[in-house]
């Protein structure tokens, strides 16, 4: 498939738009899930949605995607309530509750799916697309639904931004200020469930949580601001959708959902390696640099110890007296000179006023470094 066809093909355009919007909303709401330390909640919800789809089909007997997603929404929400109930009413921890609900609902959903498949009715074929998702079945009305849901959740997020941030950072404090934390908490959970449900058709029950977590985890690496994190996560999510769709469209028979998730995973890997502040590579480089820097400062401090016994700080001292000190080399001396902390004349060094002050404040934590 060539590039012009990509932009003119109506079906492909619909799918691309759908996966982009889906990626954006998932990234946006996923940020909240990650910051609430409820990364696995998405996984539990998406699995919990499966029996809802099956039950909705059994009741209506039709494969109208809106009806099926409504079923998914209901059973996803029931899952969330049960998880909450288990964690508040019993001694079980959240991870246990998530695991229980996930496997219980998924097991029940699978049971219903196999039962439906045994029915002598030709209509049931294709329900299993909700397991792994099938972007190719996206039609205009599906995308319209996604855009509507995204618009609403964006509006709610902007409206309650302050409340969301407060709740995520310090829930007890939010309570004392008079905010109804149960309402805010419920609102966030509701929109996370909504985002998951509208993604089921495209990405599927099994991989859906990756759509929620991967863009958010990647975005966290690049910023220390909540607003930037949410925007970045939405962008990463949208690009994962677009690239994933493009890749799967250019290669025959590559299913779209998994490719989108893999693209999102690439965003995560790149972010974890290369982000300037939190990335592994730059962290390692900084570590090595800091060690060298520390070595240098150690030498400087040793010199400072010698110098401060004299009235004149710039009085020359023999380089030889440093030899007993480990870690001193010609290189460190020239580095120190480069930084203008010392000057070297022949076999002697003398400290500058700048170097003296640096050494004196070396272990003072109360002065913020620029």
């Amino acid at each position: 498939m060539d590039i012009t066809q990509y932009f003119t093909d109506y079906t492909l355009r619909t799918i691309t738009l759908g996966t982009a919007v889906l990626g954006a909303i998932c990234g946006m709401l996923g940020s909240f899930a990650v910051l609430r330390k409820q990364s696995l909640l998405g996984d539990a919800i998406s699995h919990a949605a499966l029996p809802g789809i099956a039950v909705a089909f059994l009741i209506t007997g039709a494969k109208d995607s809106n009806v099926l997603l409504l079923g998914a929404l209901v059973s996803g929400l029931i899952g969330v309530f049960w998880i909450r109930g288990i964690t508040t009413k019993t001694h079980l921890k959240t991870d246990t509750a998530l695991g229980l609900i996930l496997s219980l609902f998924f097991g029940f959903g699978m049971l219903l799916l196999t039962y439906i498949q045994k029915q002598p009715n030709a209509n049931q074929a294709g329900l299993d697309k909700y397991l792994f998702g099938q972007a190719a079945t996206l039609v205009e009305s599906d995308v319209l639904l996604m855009v509507t849901v995204t618009g609403i959740s964006l509006l709610v997020m902007l409206l309650f931004w302050k409340e969301f941030k407060l709740l995520l950072f310090d829930k007890n404090y939010a309570m004392t200020l008079g905010f109804n934390t149960k309402f805010i908490d419920g609102l966030i959970s509701f929109f996370i469930v909504l985002a998951i449900v509208i993604g089921l058709q495209t990405v599927g029950v099994v991989l859906m949580s990756a759509m929620l977590l991967a863009p958010a985890a990647a975005a966290r690496q690049w910023t220390n601001r909540l607003s930037t994190m949410v925007i970045l996560a939405a962008i990463f999510g949208a690009f994962s959708g677009v690239f994933g769709t493009a890749i799967s469209a250019s290669q025959n028979n590559l299913s779209t959902g998994p490719v989108i998730v893999l693209v999102a995973a690439v965003f995560v890997i790149v972010s974890f390696l290369f982000s300037p502040e939190r990335g592994i590579i730059f962290k390692q480089i900084r570590l090595i640099k800091n060690r060298r820097d520390l070595q240098l400062k150690k030498t400087l401090y040793f010199m400072y110890d010698i110098v401060r016994d004299h009235d004149d700080i710039s009085r020359p001292h023999a380089i030889r007296i440093l030899n007993s000190f480990q870690g001193f080399t010609k290189k460190t001396l020239s580095k120190l000179e480069e930084k203008n902390w010392i000057t070297i004349q022949g076999q002697n060094w003398s400290m500058t006023a700048d170097g003296f002050e640096t050494a004196a404040n070396l272990y003072n934590n109360n002065i913020p470094e620029s």
């Binding site: 330390k37 407060l166 004392t176 008079g178």
Partner: protein, 245 residues
């Protein structure tokens, strides 16, 4: 001075899983005192503060702030939680955390503006953290994080301050800075209630003290009731040696 009662606790009982944490607490705190709540681990000190603030639902009992229920008096109360109760890796800055202190008076949906920012910067200055206003909060030391929490409460401009172990894990400089601010608050007529662990500093820092160990043991001026008898009742062992200086 002891004319008005700032906080009145009546028959307060709290339990986690059948085991009482606070048992039938009656407590009156007069306006304008700087009071320590002391007691051993598990005595329910934090729980007492949290139940007064409505974070924990008590099984029985009631709390009155200046004679009215807490829900009607929120604007008169500020809270400094334990530093360890939040995730300091949260993507936000020191100034942003302090601004959260203005959210209560703003109410739902309304965003903080220039006025709120100015007040927050003033609070940051008061705790000596203005130079760190744009710092990501994970890059602050424990003492600095505690100061940020204090600044957030100062922004609330309340009449009563509840603080949960504000001296925990902070260095001497920060401890002195914090206690000076607390003493300033008292001078301005505010009531300050602090969960405190270091018995040695109680007479030096506070003018009132409450002894608590699940049950309420005693409340009163430090000079009257901070004695061996009450310490023994609270901690179960003789503390004479520890507190005599």
């Amino acid at each position: 001075m002891e004319s008005k009662i700032a906080v009145a606790v009546d028959d307060l009982t709290v339990a986690y899983n059948y085991k009482p944490v606070l048992w039938d607490i009656d407590l009156s705190i007069p306006e304008g005192v700087l009071m320590a709540i002391v007691g051993p681990n598990g005595a329910g000190k934090s729980t007492l503060i949290k139940s007064i603030l409505g974070i924990i639902d008590p099984i029985a009992g009631s709390v009155a702030i200046y004679g009215k229920p807490y829900v009607k008096q929120r604007d008169k109360v500020a809270y400094v939680p334990q530093k360890g109760s939040v995730d300091w890796d949260f993507p936000t800055t020191a100034l942003d955390v302090v601004m959260m202190g203005t959210y209560g008076s703003l109410g739902w949906i309304k965003r903080p503006g220039a006025k709120e920012k100015k007040r927050s910067l003033e609070a940051l200055e008061k705790v000596g953290m203005l130079a760190f206003k744009n710092r990501q909060i994970s890059q602050l030391s424990g003492g600095q994080q505690q100061r940020i929490f204090l600044a957030r409460a100062l922004v609330q401009n309340a009449a009563i301050y509840f603080m949960d172990e504000p001296f925990q894990g902070v260095d001497a400089t920060t401890e002195i800075a914090i206690i000076n601010i607390l003493k300033e608050l008292r001078k301005a007529g505010k009531t300050v209630i602090v969960v405190h662990h270091d018995l040695q500093t109680v007479p030096e820092y506070f003018d009132w003290v409450t002894f608590l160990n699940v049950k309420h043991i005693a409340t009163g001026p430090v000079k009257d009731i901070f004695n061996d008898d009450n310490l023994t009742k609270t901690y179960g062992i003789n503390y004479k040696v520890a507190v005599q200086q």
